[in-house]
């Protein structure tokens, strides 16, 4: 049996190893992904994002329990940051999800950002495809704890959930232009804390002011929860279900989203490939080092050096 068939039949070890290969940029992984692609597109993908410590992992853990109770199989991709200094990472999201580790219907994988800035990893898109192909009904992607602008998850998820906690006050204002625009559902977690009502109101005001956002008929609901006590979690899943039905019901939304996703996936893939292939080659060429020396000596400016190198690379034969 080939690797792709093993994965489609649900072989955990093959799945785990392929995700590693994707992460490590092993060439063969791409071929397997090509074989898997026809088996993808069945899973429902939910993205969970929010600042560090708002309770994303705890919420995911509870959601997994509910989904399992409903007979759904679940894949979890949990992203934690890579150290910019050592390149190492501590991936601690499993700690909150321990109780699912013996459940055959749950596959949990921790991933490190490895310098990628979108809140997920460069490999997340492909890892979702792998879990999808292995037959998981629902895939939950927990982003790294994000600030304002890490919104890549929205391109991969059908439903994106923004988790907030009370007491962020002015931060909420600051969040306005980035992450808050991508939420399909807002969850105010740790809602027993002081200021929960105010946070709900802040978000509500923001949504009300942003009418064009829900011209397709979906106005993001705001829910309160205490994930650690399993309070409000069922309601979140109900809203996810409603959102899913909303996406499916509209004849216009689906093809549009499919097109947008394909467009984004393809352009990202081309970008990755070009960066890997071309940049590697340029950096390894003597020209790169030579230009560096000239810049350091002040004999050339980096803009000119860049234009020269790139135009040579992209249009061979011209100067």
């Amino acid at each position: 049996m080939g690797i792709a068939e093993k994965i489609i039949s649900g072989d955990i070890r093959s799945v785990a190893r392929l995700i590693r290969d994707i992460d490590d940029n092993v060439l063969g992984a791409r071929e397997v992904l090509k074989d898997l692609y026809p088996s993808t597109g069945k899973a429902y993908v939910v993205g969970i994002t929010g600042a560090p410590g708002v309770g994303k992992s705890t919420l995911v853990d509870q959601m997994v329990t509910h989904l399992r109770g409903a007979g759904k199989t679940v894949g979890v991709l949990a992203v934690d940051p890579t150290s910019p200094f050592s390149g190492g990472a501590i991936l601690g999201d499993r700690v909150r999800m321990q109780r699912h580790s013996m459940d055959e219907g749950v596959f949990i994988r921790s991933m490190a950002t490895r310098g990628y800035f979108g809140g997920i990893t460069q490999s997340t898109r492909s890892a979702i495809d792998v879990l999808d192909a292995m037959g998981k009904d629902c895939i939950i992607v927990e982003t790294v704890g994000v600030g304002q602008d890490e919104i890549d998850i929205v391109q991969s998820a059908h439903t994106t959930i923004i988790v907030l906690v009370p007491g962020m006050g002015d931060d909420v204002q600051a969040l306005k232009a980035g992450i808050l625009e991508i939420g399909d559902i807002f969850v105010i977690n740790k809602a027993d804390r002081e200021g929960a009502d105010r946070t709900v109101n802040d978000i509500r005001l923001m949504i009300e002011m942003d009418e064009k956002r829900y011209k397709d008929g979906w106005k993001p609901p705001i829910l309160t929860a205490q994930a650690v006590f399993d309070k409000g979690v069922k309601e979140i899943l109900d809203e996810i279900d409603k959102h899913r039905k909303h996406l499916q019901s509209s004849a216009q939304i689906q093809p549009l989203r499919k097109y947008e996703k394909a467009r984004n996936d393809l352009s990202e893939m081309i970008k990755d490939k070009i960066i890997h292939d071309v940049l590697d080659e340029i950096i390894q060429s003597g020209e790169f080092e030579k230009s560096l020396q000239l810049i350091v000596k002040g004999e050339i400016d980096p803009y000119t050096a860049c234009d020269t190198i790139v135009s040579k690379k992209l249009k061979p034969g011209t100067k």
């Binding site: 890579t82 190492g88 499993r94 321990q98 994988r109």
Partner: protein
């Protein structure tokens, strides 16, 4: 375009032992050495440890034990790795072990055991010398 593979490690505390300060310090040292460290928390059964290791596709499992149950827990992890065809994963241990036990545990397949007082550099260096990220 092949970048260097990263070493992935699972740091786990099997059994009813609640002292994870050592495990956390080791995890941190591994992180600073550039490894990706999955930390799975306290009170794990050997079964849970092995499942996590397989799902995370790690190259090594570091088991921490300070409560004296290592003679059951550690060999059981080795056994389960073998049963699951994952015995390429290197297992080492850290904690308090009598001399005799160290000998027996090594025989059972634990590749190295670190006792209190071992410098962190040594623990990290051992991994670099004894664990190959898969396929390299």
């Amino acid at each position: 375009m092949n970048q260097k593979r990263k070493i992935r490690v699972l740091v786990a505390k099997p059994g009813l032992d609640g002292h994870d300060r050592g495990a956390r310090i080791i995890a941190r040292a591994y992180r600073d050495a550039g490894f990706e460290v999955v930390y799975s928390g306290l009170h794990q059964t050997p079964e849970e440890v092995v499942r996590a290791a397989i799902q995370e596709d790690v190259d090594m499992i570091g088991l921490s034990s300070l409560a004296g149950a290592h003679m059951y827990l550690f060999p059981r992890v080795i056994e389960l790795l073998q049963e699951n065809g994952a015995d390429n994963i290197v297992v080492c241990g850290g904690g308090i072990f009598p001399e005799d036990d160290i000998f027996k545990l090594k025989k059972a397949g634990i590749k190295e055991l670190f006792t209190p007082g071992t410098p962190l550099d040594e623990v990290v260096k051992w991994v670099e010398e004894n664990v190959n990220p898969r396929g390299s």
